[in-house]
Structures are given as C-alpha cells and as structure tokens.
C-alpha cells in the first residue's frame, strides 16, 4: 500500500506505482493506483483491431529475396537474455501458464487467456497451411504434441532450415533441462540463457537425443550428435560460443545456413585459434557473412575464397585494416574491385607488379582515378608495368602535374597522337 491517497506520497512510492511493483497499491484500492491500473488494464479486443492490415504492410516490406534480406541484416540483439519459443508456442505458454507477454507493468496480463486463444487458433491455422511448425509443435509442451510432430516428420532425418533447427534446439534444451532438474518436461516452457546453456552442456543431452527420435533431423543437420550442443548454442545466440574446433566441425551446409545475425556476431577471437588449414575449409557462404572486423583478420588464403563483391562491399575503414601483403595475395580481379576503396597508404604499400596486374583489370578511367592518388614516383613504377595499350588510354586521363613528373622513358613509348595532347 503506497499511501498515495493518504498524504505521504514520495518519489520512491511514485516509482513503485509506475513500475506496478506488487504491493505498491497499483491494483489495490488506492484511487490513483486504480487509475493507473485502469490506464494499463487488459487490452480489449477492439484495441487489437487492424492486425491484418498491419501484417499486410509487414509482409509487403519483407517479401524480398532471402539473400538480400540476409545480406542486409546485421546482428540485431545483444544476446537474448531468455530463450523461448516463438509465436505459436508462445500462445501455448500463455494459455497453459497464464504467463503474459506484455509484462512490463503487469499491463494486459489478465487478458492473456483471451489473447492466447486467439493466437493459438491463428497459429494452428498456419501449421495446417504450411506444415512448417514441426519444431514448434514438438516444443509445444506435451508428449502428445511431440508424438504428433514425430509422426508428421515420419522420423526420417532431414536437413532442417536454420529457423526450424533453432526451434528444435529450443525443444531439445527444454527437454534436457527437464531431465537434469527432474522436472516434468511439460512444465518447462521458458528457459533463461543460463538454463539453456546448462541443458546443452549437460550429459543428459545425449540421452534425450537418443530417446527422442524427433531430434534425428537436428543431429543430421548439425553433422552428428557431438555437434548438436555447439550448433544449438550458435543458433540460440548463447554467449558461450563453440570452441574453435567445434565451429569447424559443423558441416558446411549447416554453417552456410546459419542466419546472418548469428554469423555476424561471431567475434574474431573465436576464429583466431583455428588453423588456416581448417579455415580454408569453411564455406564461402559462411565466411562472407562474418563481420568486417573478423574478415580483415583472416589469412589471405581464406580471403581469396571470398567473392570479390563481398570484400568490395566492406567499409573502406575495414579494408584499410587489410595488410598490403594480404591484399597482394588476392586474385587480381578481386583486388581490382577493392582498389577504388583502398586508402592511399595501402596502395603505396602494394607491390607495383601486383597493383599493375589489378589495375589492368580496371577501366582506364578508374585507373586514372586511383593512380592520381599516388606520388609520381610510385605511379611511374606502376605505369611502367602496365601494357603499352592501357598506358595509352590512361596517361591522357592523368592530371597534368603527374604526367609532367613522369620519366621521359615511360612516355617515349606512347604514340604521337597521345604525346601531342600532353603538356
């Protein structure tokens, strides 16, 4: 009771009322608390109207090719503190436990049943339509639901898409957690990150996998039972990353299919101890989605596997971190794509022969733009290594000051038509 209405109402009491701290009188008989509780009372159905229109807008924004959306996505969440289920299963949790999503202030909690039924119905419809919620169903709660899921999957192991694998991982973690704590698996619906970590680290994990054939697909996707914990840890955004050995043990297909948000949060330290021989085995689809700061620390032999476009898309400041000796080992075509973004200092450090080979892949205009950044001496060294044909095209595009500083021997090979236009 906060005594809001009894004359002694301090800031602390105000904070408690605002937070809806139990016992602060928010839902009690204090009139002010009642007003706040009413303002934040359970949502009425009419207040949720317009959902389909909003969803239409949402789908319109998200109906883009998967590759594009993935590429654009960077890490979104600093490690989720709690792990849970997704929308459909979420509704189950709501209806089963009366736990509400909108918990900040205790607002909307009492309507959890009504909304849960709505969400559940909608979700069930989706499952029937798309049949893509096997993982959710398995994670649902009851043995009955699990059996249904297993039946649906026909117990045939298959490679799961990352989103489905993540759901299956959640289900697995909950079952393992239940096994560890001796709880009824049906009551374990939400785990903290620590709980998930415990479950994945536990010795019970293996037994749960063996006892429950519906996890066969997850094992197949992770490339073996021993990889499941690491794979799930990655997918579920756990703070503890797989040991470097664990990462490279994952099958290329699983690594390639990891969501962008998972790959981009892998820190350089996770890959640093991995031997180069193992790094080069990592699929380009995985490597190319690592964050720029991780990429620049990779050995050149690994970087050469990457499409030029991936490297060229890196921010100039990231590229500046690439050592010239690493750049020098890139294929000329890849390097050519990077040249326009490289800082002058890096350009100067590149061996003239390498630079010339890369420049030869670029248009005369692009070469002129790059060469113009360099000193006359460096330019002369590079130009001397370019074929005469490209020199003829490049020289007229160079700034006059640079051309006049070039050695006569270099220019002498140029045709008179070009020379006549030079200062």
């Amino acid at each position: 009771m906060s005594s809001i209405h009894r004359g002694r109402f301090g800031r602390r009491a105000a904070e408690q009322v605002l937070d809806g701290v139990p016992g602060s009188g928010r839902a009690g008989c204090d009139p002010l608390a009642s007003v706040l509780a009413a303002a934040a009372a359970a949502a009425r159905d009419v207040e949720r109207a317009g959902e389909d229109a909003a969803v239409t807008g949402f789908l319109a924004e998200h109906l883009v090719p998967v590759d594009q959306s993935r590429r654009g996505q960077m890490i979104k969440s600093p490690l989720a503190k709690l792990l849970t289920i997704k929308a459909g299963a979420f509704a189950l949790a709501l209806s089963a436990g009366g736990v509400a999503l909108a918990a900040g202030t205790g607002a909307f909690t009492s309507s959890s049943h009504a909304s849960a039924h709505g969400a559940g119905a909608s979700s069930a419809g989706q499952q029937a339509r798309a049949g893509r919620h096997v993982g959710v169903e398995a994670s649902g709660a009851g043995a009955h639901a699990r059996a249904g899921a297993a039946g649906k999957a026909g117990l045939t192991a298959r490679i799961l898409p990352a989103s489905e694998a993540a759901k299956t991982c959640s289900a697995l973690a909950r079952q393992a957690y239940a096994a560890v704590t001796g709880a009824d698996a049906r009551t374990v619906q939400v785990l903290t990150e620590t709980g998930v970590q415990q479950a994945l680290d536990s010795t019970a994990l293996r037994q749960v996998i063996i006892d429950n054939p519906q996890f066969g697909s997850l094992v197949a996707t992770a490339g073996g039972q021993a990889n499941v914990a690491d794979y799930c840890g990655l997918l579920l955004h756990l703070a503890k990353l797989p040991a470097p050995g664990g990462l490279v043990a994952l099958p290329a297909s699983a690594l390639s299919a990891l969501p962008a948000g998972v790959v981009s949060r892998i820190p350089a330290t996770a890959l640093a101890p991995v031997p180069t021989a193992d790094l080069v085995k990592l699929p380009a689809a995985f490597l190319s989605r690592l964050s720029g700061s991780v990429l620049v620390r990779l050995p050149a032999v690994v970087l050469v596997k990457l499409p030029a476009g991936v490297l060229a898309a890196l921010h100039a400041s990231v590229l500046a971190g690439l050592h010239a000796s690493v750049l020098a080992q890139l294929p000329a075509k890849t390097l050519a794509a990077l040249l326009p973004k490289l800082p002058t200092a890096t350009l100067t450090l590149l061996p003239a022969k390498t630079l010339a080979a890369a420049l030869a892949k670029l248009s005369a205009k692009a070469v002129a733009a790059i060469v113009a950044k360099l000193s006359a001496k460096t330019t002369a060294g590079i130009l001397a290594k370019l074929p005469a044909g490209s020199l003829t095209q490049i020289v007229p595009r160079l700034p006059a000051s640079l051309v006049s500083a070039l050695p006569r021997s270099l220019l002498s090979g140029l045709p008179p038509s070009v020379l006549s236009h030079l200062p």
Binding site: I4, H5, G7, F9, G10, R11, R12, A13, A14, E15, L18, D19, G20, P31, L32, A33, S34, V35, L36, A38, A40, A41, A43, R44, E47, R48, E51, A54, G57, F58, H62, S69, G72, Q73, M74, K76, S77, A80, L82, T84, I85, K86, A87, G88, F90, G97, V99, L101, A102, A103, T105, G106, A107, T109, G118, S122, Q126, S163, V190, H237
Partner: protein
C-alpha cells in the same frame, strides 16, 4: 487532498536500478517473459508473420492508449502509420525487448508529433462520455471497490488533463511499460527529468481525484 512529498524517499538510491533487478525475487510471473519479446522481435526481423502478430497484439493497445492522449480521436490513424514505419524499420532495429518497446514508442511519438504539426491543432482531445467519468468524481467512493470502477477510457481522460510532458511520462511508464531510462530515451530527456515529470503527474492526478 494534496499528497506531500516524502523527503527521505526522494533520495532513494534504488531509483536508478533497472526495474528488473529491483523486482527480482518478488517478480510476478508476468515479468519473466519480458525477454521473450526479444526472441519474438528477432523472429519478426526474419520476416516471421506470427511473430509480427504477437508484437502487434502486445503493442497496439498500448499505442492506442498513449496516442489517444496525445492526438485524441486520430489515435488509430497515427497507430496505423506507426506500424508501417515499424514494418519498414524492423530489420534495422538492434536491441533487447525493453529497447524494442522504447524504439516502437519513439516511432509512435514521432508519428504523433508529425501528425500534430500537420494538423496544427491542439493536442489531447479525448472524447469520453460524461458518464464514464462519473466513477472518478467521488474518489472516496471508489476506494475499496477495486479498479473495475475506473474504466480505461476514464483513466486516460484523466491523464489527458495533465500537461503533455507529465502525461507522456506517466503513459510511457505505465501504459507502454517502459522504465525511466527507456522513457527518457523516447522523450529525449534525462531519466531524472522523466522521473520528476511522472512524479508531478501522479501528484496532480491524485489532486484531481481529491477534487
């Protein structure tokens, strides 16, 4: 009956603690799934329709109530606009569940501000039938009879009588479910300023009730 400030409480050090820590232990089950929202947000960012629906069901009632106080009867229009912006910007959002609600509230507030600017009209016109306000009139009568005596509309109408900064501070904390820091980020103010505004708002509300 004007409440008097409690000087000892005004310096309470725990006010700066994140609410979740403070509520630890005694937290009602309703608090725990807060972080679930982070998971749902992530799924929605990946284009999951169900997850987006969950976000909508959580946020839309909050938006409507907050916006009714700010833009009055056009709350629904502004809320629709807000959702378009959320759908558009969702993939660029980074943060946790609290951060998400704050981010969404910021969008709603910006839409409302734009709306008000365009219409060049006075904010906060909540149309509430007179009879709905009746339970508020006799505060003493409502005491002891539970919160069902005060309808949500009437409560919002009462909050709408506050100066805008106080009304917003109270709404962001109670209706949007933000802590002082998140509310401060939405309002572009310091958390202390938002706490003060909310505190003054509550005192004023208590004053209205005592009228």
């Amino acid at each position: 009956m004007e409440p008097t400030p409690d000087p000892s409480a005004a310096t309470g050090v725990d006010l700066d603690q994140p609410r979740d820590n403070r509520a630890e232990g005694a937290a009602p089950p309703a608090r725990a799934p807060l972080a679930d929202l982070a998971d749902v947000v992530r799924l929605a960012q990946d284009g999951d329709e169900d997850a987006f629906r969950v976000l909508y069901r959580d946020l839309q009632p909050r938006f409507l109530r907050y916006l009714r106080v700010i833009v009055g009867d056009e709350a629904e229009d502004v809320a629709s606009e807000t959702w378009l912006h959320i759908a558009r910007g969702l993939s660029s959002f980074r943060g946790d569940s609290d951060g998400f609600r704050g981010w969404a509230a910021t969008i709603a507030r910006n839409r409302a501000t734009d709306h008000l600017r365009q219409r060049q009209r006075r904010p906060r016109t909540v149309s509430v039938p007179v009879e709905e306000l009746a339970p508020l009139a006799g505060a003493d009568d409502t005491a002891g009879r539970g919160l069902e005596m005060v309808s949500t509309d009437a409560a919002l109408a009462l909050i709408a009588r506050l100066p805008r900064d106080q009304a917003e501070a109270v709404l962001l904390r109670t209706v949007m479910g933000l802590d002082a820091r998140a509310a401060a980020a939405v309002l572009g103010k310091r958390p202390g300023a938002v706490r003060t505004a909310a505190y003054r708002g509550l005192r004023k509300l208590a004053g209205f009730l005592g009228e």
